[in-house]
């Protein structure tokens, strides 16, 4: 129940609004509502979905689109590795974790990362399911609403709704800067991301994660070593 309430509040409203922007993009690209909903339900990771619709609209090849989506969503791998130990109680069946993994996306992940450590282990997975299923359903609702409203919604409002997603993510992380190594990683990543995108648009994000992440890790270790001596 706590998870349901957490998901339905401000995070759900913001994510839902972001998907209103996505829904109207879907319609403007000539994609039927059903397939737009399939995209939200089956991928549920908005940056990759925007890349998909954008590339589809300009007529990119099937393989190009799938590869671009894969590279855009690579963050889900390390995010999952970091979150799973929080969700897993000693007796949790593996399939429950593999199912939960589908619902790992930035909003629910950030909520779980912040709230799980203060919860009893057996309460964490139900909390995660409650939060993310609510968010997931609000995303589907937002996609449908955006599709219906497309065209009637002023163009600048659609822009604002799409813009909500990155600024919301930005604030979610700006409010969680307690961990030194991770804060350094975010600072370096924020700078390296756009720079490496100029160098190699396809691989830029992946290289950003590996280089900025490793550098932050090394700096944090060096700092610890220096403090000890």
């Amino acid at each position: 129940m706590l998870g349901l309430r957490t998901g339905a509040g401000i995070p759900g409203l913001i994510l839902g609004s972001t998907y209103v922007g996505f829904g109207s993009m879907v319609r403007e690209s000539g994609i039927p509502l059903g397939l737009g909903l399939v995209s939200t339900a089956s991928s549920w990771a908005i940056p990759g979905q925007i890349v998909l619709v954008e590339l589809w609209a300009v007529g990119a090849s099937i393989l190009t689109i799938i590869a671009a989506v894969a590279l855009t969503n690579a963050r889900l791998l390390p995010m999952t590795v970091v979150l799973v130990p929080q969700l897993r109680a000693p007796d949790t069946a593996p399939w429950k974790i593999y199912l939960a993994a589908h619902f790992i996306a930035v909003t629910g992940w950030a909520l779980a990362m912040r709230q799980c450590p203060s919860m009893a282990p057996e309460r964490r997975l139900p909390f995660f399911y409650g939060t993310t299923l609510t968010l997931w359903m609000m995303s589907l609702g937002g996609t449908a609403l955006g599709f219906i409203l497309a065209g009637t919604l002023p163009y600048h409002v659609t822009l604002g709704l799409v813009f909500m997603n990155p600024i919301y993510f930005m604030l979610v992380f700006a409010s969680d800067l307690r961990h030194r190594a991770r804060t350094i990683a975010m600072g370096l990543g924020a700078v390296a991301g756009p720079l490496l995108h100029f160098l190699t648009p396809d691989w830029g994000l992946l290289i950003t994660g590996l280089v900025a992440g490793s550098l932050a890790f090394a700096l944090d270790r060096a700092w610890r070593g220096w403090r000890r001596t």
């Binding site: 940056p47 689109i65 990543g189 994660g209």
Partner: protein
């Protein structure tokens, strides 16, 4: 192959590669000790990737935002952070302020038409 059929293939492919990252993450999580240095490194990579993605979404967006001036997006993002910190980290107000700022900036450039 009709356009719709192609799109279905793309959606299946996209869902498959996206879940592959998540599924592989669960598999690896079972093999990495959360107390180990490897785990700390993976966490650093995750946060760097997320921050890189977010700054790219703001500075070099794809989709409809690509047509908006960079100055408007950066201005609205700075305004978001300013309101967020001025309101003692109120997330909803920060996001509302940033969204409103971008709408007004881009709309204003179009002469409010």
């Amino acid at each position: 192959m009709t356009a719709e059929y192609q799109l279905i293939v793309i959606l299946i492919g996209a869902a498959t590669v996206t879940y592959a990252w998540r599924g592989l993450g669960v598999y690896l999580a079972g093999r990495i000790d959360p107390e180990s240095a490897w785990f700390d490194w993976v966490a650093c990579v995750a946060y760097a990737l997320l921050a890189g993605l977010i700054s790219r979404l703001i500075l070099l967006p794809q989709g409809p935002l690509a047509q908006t001036p960079t100055a408007d997006r950066v201005g609205a993002a700075i305004f978001t952070l300013a309101i967020f910190y001025l309101t003692r980290r109120n997330l909803a107000l920060g996001v509302a302020a940033g969204t409103g700022a971008l709408i007004l900036l881009t709309w204003g450039r179009a002469g409010f038409s």
